[in-house]
Every structure is written in structure tokens, then in C-alpha cells.
Symmetry: C2
Subunit: 325 residues, 2 copies
């Protein structure tokens, strides 16, 4: 994995659009309308606009991308430029990784969550058969180019999803400074870079999610189950904050942490404003509904692997729950 | 890439079926009927029988495999055992590589072509939008286990497809001894191993098809175009022998080789019994029909990359033919 992580200011970004080396663009359909100064370049590259969101991250959309790449004669040496948040980059990078066994890929994450998390580390994914990221590949982009002014047009709810992952990083890495959650100093490239760097370091040590990188799934087993069970009405960041809360409760019930630590985790996570609707869904959904989603989680084979707080920090814990139990 | 290449005799193979560690089986539908002594084990693993052939190597079949893996709760730590020739391993390994971002994979190639070529080196593939291996991934199996007695039930025409790749290797590597083409001493593990070893060495140097491995595509640009244009009525080995012939003719026409070398190549390739129907298809098919298939070849981006004999041996040659010319 030799991904370059770069920043582009407005002039640099305009130049990329003005003098595109080659290739095609896949983008969130909202971006060309929001940023005509870039996407309205004189000689635009062939562009396919995609609807963002987990419900669009499916095989049908992927087949449309294959057709677009084929119609535009994209070969393995051609660059596919991808502009969007995590759902767009998951979908587009999956298609790019499997088309002709993989074309060149540059990601331009346009959301906070994608800048510090989704674009980094090469995981691609499609939702399939009702499960989140059930299909996917490991396919790191050759470059990730961030342009933080994109965040100015991001709705508050979307910004919050990025904070959720930042909150998770802050629990995993003691030395990461969490920006104020209530009135964050955003647009600050330094904050973005420090969080992105943390993820890049973890992925460099364990690119294929075998050991160290598994910890980044803290809150994700329960979180993905919540997302899928709610048919993606609960957003990813909100779901993983709830997932981290569930993981902490579970750890305390299993005797893995003392009551005092449990309270500390809950206080820290309590800073995050989980929307009332998501809380209500969790309260009203019996465990039985979530169970199949938990058991289909990619980390799980014959046993359940959960990322849980323990007395020695957050660890991978194998739970020997039978598939039919 | 850390693929182990192992041989299993009848007792060892029976033991694999008798005491399967875990996982599921994907296989050519003909094999359980031909080899009930293996596939009829007392406690068989869940098995999905697949129809072999290029026409089955498609997204529809791949979606069926995803469903089978899902229904059987296959996780990333579970082994998928794949029995079959090149089309089965291309299809099955593609599905396995993309399901939950990749499960464990063991290949048991059952044809000569798969033993010495298709199973080795991690290329997976689906035919899509009319083009061969248009979708695919690089996903080496953790083990390749060959059982040469499988070749006894292989039709002569299928055996010939393996010889075609052996013929190609013999042109690329001076020190490879080609077995007699007319009455080959088959079942000889040594011959199989020596050819398999050659491919493994090339793939170890260049796993992602960037330089040395490209030479293994000698005859394949034209060959894949012939296969696709004939709607896979021409078999792979037959097609690449024709493809190597075309490449040699093209080299001579372009002045890359002398008449004497051209004659040598043609004599050597002339040992191979190309079926009359395939020759007829080639004669009757105008170049215009093959052109789009050539231009969509995965090796090609803005220019055409052909593997051609030259005065310095077989090389990658870039031809600057415009896409719209």
C-alpha cells in the first residue's frame, strides 16, 4: 500500500479539473451542482454522477459503473477520479478494483468521515443480500487528495458522522486530541491530517484487517447490525457510537471492565449527540432482530469476534457463541 | 503471494474429503459423478455444483455463489475448496475474493490447463459485457493441490488446451522440455510440476502483470478476441495457438523478425492440431469483427500493447493505434 495523502487548495483543485491528465470522473451527484467552479471545467472528463447513501451501494449501481467505464474505453492504465463521501468511495472503488482486475484510482473525499476514515486503507464495499459491505475488496487508492473547503457545504448531520469516528479514534489512541465536539474548529487541515495519519499508521501495520486494524472496528459489529436492521435509516457514525455504548455495556456485564471504567467510557461517549430517532430504534428493536446481522459480520467465522474494552484497553475478544444458538 | 503447490495421491485426496477441516466445496458439476469415491464421503461439506465453460463464467453464476456462501454462513476464516478446470477456478475464486473481502481459498485444478496455468498466479475472472475476464481480481489461493489421476477422465480436446499453454511456455522459456505432443506421457507429475514451476516463478517476480508476467499473454490478445468473437465456441488453448500464429505473422509484417525466424515459429506452432472449425472461423472473420475485442483487452489503455516475437526474443511492444482509428 503506497497511498499518497495530499491536500489541494482551491487553485490546485481547479488546476486538476482544468488540466486533467486522463481518465474519467465518478462523483456524488450533488457535487457538480455545488461546485460548478470545478466540475464545470472547459473540457471536462467523462463524468458519471452517482446517488450517495448506503442504499445506492449495491450491485446494480456497480454494474452501471462497469458500463460507464466500458463505454469510455477505460483501461488498467487510466485513472478513475472519485469525488464523494464514504458510500461513493466504497462503491466506486469496488467497481474500479474489479474492472479489468483493477484500474488506477484517485480518491477526493468530500466528507469529514471519508477524509479521516473511509477513503483510507483500501477497503471497498457493496451492500448485498441485506448485509453491509458483504462484498468488497482491499484496493488502496494511489492518491487521496483532500480539499477541506468541501466541508463547508456538508450538512451538520453529515459532519457529525465524521465526529463519531474521531471519537472512536480518541478512545483507541490516547495521544489524539479530540476537537471540541460542540463547536468544532473545522476546516482545520491539521486536525483532519492528525486523525487521517492515525488511521494510515494502523493500516500500514495491518493492511488486511488481521490484527491491529481490527481494533478500528470498535463499535462496528453492533453498529453495522443496527444500520442494516434499520435499513440504513440510522447513519454510520450515529450507529457506531451506539455500537460503542453497547460494547461497553457488554464488557461490563461480562466482567471485562470495572464499573468505574464503564462510567468513564459512557461519559466520554455521552458527549456525542445521538439523534432521538436512533435511540428509539435501539430501544424498540429486540436483540433477535439484530442477531443474524451480527453473525454475518465479516470478522466472524465459527465464533463471534468482538472489539471490547477490557482492563488492558480495547481488545479483540473471541466469544464462543454457536451459529444456531 | 505465498501459495503452496502440493500433490495429493488417491489416499491423500480421499483423506481430505473424509476429514474436512471446515468450509464448503465449489466444483465442476461433472466431478461428483466421475469421482464418487471422493465426493461421496460420509459427511460431505456443503457443496455447490457449477456448470463449467466460459459461458458460465458470468455475474449471474457469481451471484449464485454469493448466495450459497451466505446460506452456509461462510466467514473470512472459512475455507472454500474449489475443484475444477480454469473456468470454474476463475469464477469461483472471483466470488471467494470478493465475498466479505475475501475468504480462504484452496484450489484443486482438475484439468491440465488449470494445473499448469489457470490455478497459478491468483488471476480470477468473469466474462462481462461480451468481453473475456472483463471483471476480475488478483487473489492467489493459499494452496493449490494437484491430483494428476483426474486427467484420466479428461476428454482429449480438453487435454489439448493444456498442451497449448505448454507450447507457449516452451517458446518463452528455452529450458522447458515440451512433452511429445502426439502421444504425451501424461499422468507424469514431473512434467506438470516443471511447467507449473515456470509459471510460479514468473508470477513471483511480477504478481500484478506489470512486466515479466505480461509475456505469459503471448497469443492472448488475439486469442481472447477470437474466443469472445466466436462466443467461446473456440476453446482457450486452440484460440491462443491461433493467436500466437497471428502474433508471429504480425511481427514478420512489421519487420520485427526475419523470414527464417518466422518459419521457425510457424513450424513449432504447427505441431499443434488446431481444429478445422477454429481455422475456418479465423479465415471467415473479418478483422473489423475482432477489433473491438482487441481494443478492450485489459493490457490496453490509450495504446495497444502486444506480446510479439522480435529479434531479441518475445517482448511487449507498444503499438500507437488510436482508439477510434
Amino acid at each position: 500500500m503506497n497511498t499518497e495523502y495530499l491536500r489541494a487548495d482551491s487553485i490546485e483543485l481547479a488546476a486538476i479539473f482544468q488540466y486533467p491528465a486522463s481518465g474519467v470522473i465518478l462523483c456524488d451527484a450533488r457535487l457538480p451542482k455545488l461546485y460548478p467552479e470545478y466540475f464545470g471545467a472547459a473540457k471536462p472528463l467523462p463524468t458519471l454522477a452517482l446517488r450517495a447513501g448506503e442504499s445506492s451501494k449495491n450491485m446494480g449501481q456497480c454494474l452501471k459503473i462497469y458500463e460507464f467505464l466500458s463505454e469510455n474505453g477505460v483501461g488498467r492504465q487510466d485513472i478513475v477520479h472519485v469525488f464523494g463521501g464514504g458510500t461513493i468511495s466504497d462503491l466506486a472503488a469496488y467497481a474500479v478494483s474489479t474492472f479489468k482486475r483493477g484500474c488506477r484510482l484517485i480518491l477526493y473525499p468530500s466528507t469529514l468521515l471519508a477524509m479521516i476514515d473511509a477513503a483510507i486503507g483500501g477497503k471497498t464495499g457493496l451492500n448485498h443480500l441485506g448485509y453491509k459491505n458483504y462484498l468488497g475488496s482491499f484496493y488502496p487508492a494511489e492518491k487521496i487528495i483532500i480539499h477541506s473547503p468541501f466541508l463547508k457545504s456538508l450538512p451538520k448531520a453529515e459532519l457529525r458522522q465524521g465526529f463519531a469516528e474521531m471519537l472512536k479514534y480518541s478512545l483507541l489512541a490516547d495521544d489524539l486530541l479530540l476537537p471540541e465536539l460542540v463547536s468544532p474548529e473545522l476546516g482545520e487541515d491539521d486536525i483532519i491530517l492528525s486523525f487521517a495519519l492515525y488511521k494510515m499508521q494502523v493500516c500500514a501495520i495491518d493492511p488486511y484487517d488481521r490484527k491491529e486494524r481490527l481494533l478500528l472496528n470498535f463499535g462496528h459489529s453492533f453498529g453495522h447490525a443496527l444500520e442494516a436492521a434499520s435499513q440504513y435509516k440510522i447513519k454510520h457514525g450515529d450507529a457506531i457510537v451506539l455500537g460503542m455504548n453497547i460494547a461497553c455495556d457488554f464488557s461490563f456485564q461480562q466482567g471485562l471492565i470495572e464499573e468505574e471504567d464503564w462510567a468513564d467510557y459512557r461519559d466520554w461517549l455521552g458527549q456525542y449527540p445521538v439523534p432521538a430517532a436512533a435511540m428509539r430504534f435501539l430501544d424498540e428493536t429486540p436483540l433477535e432482530v439484530m442477531k443474524p446481522f451480527l453473525l454475518q459480520d465479516k470478522k466472524n467465522g465459527q465464533s463471534l469476534r468482538l472489539i471490547l474494552p477490557t482492563e488492558d484497553g480495547i481488545k479483540v475478544v473471541e466469544a464462543t457463541i454457536g451459529k444456531n444458538s
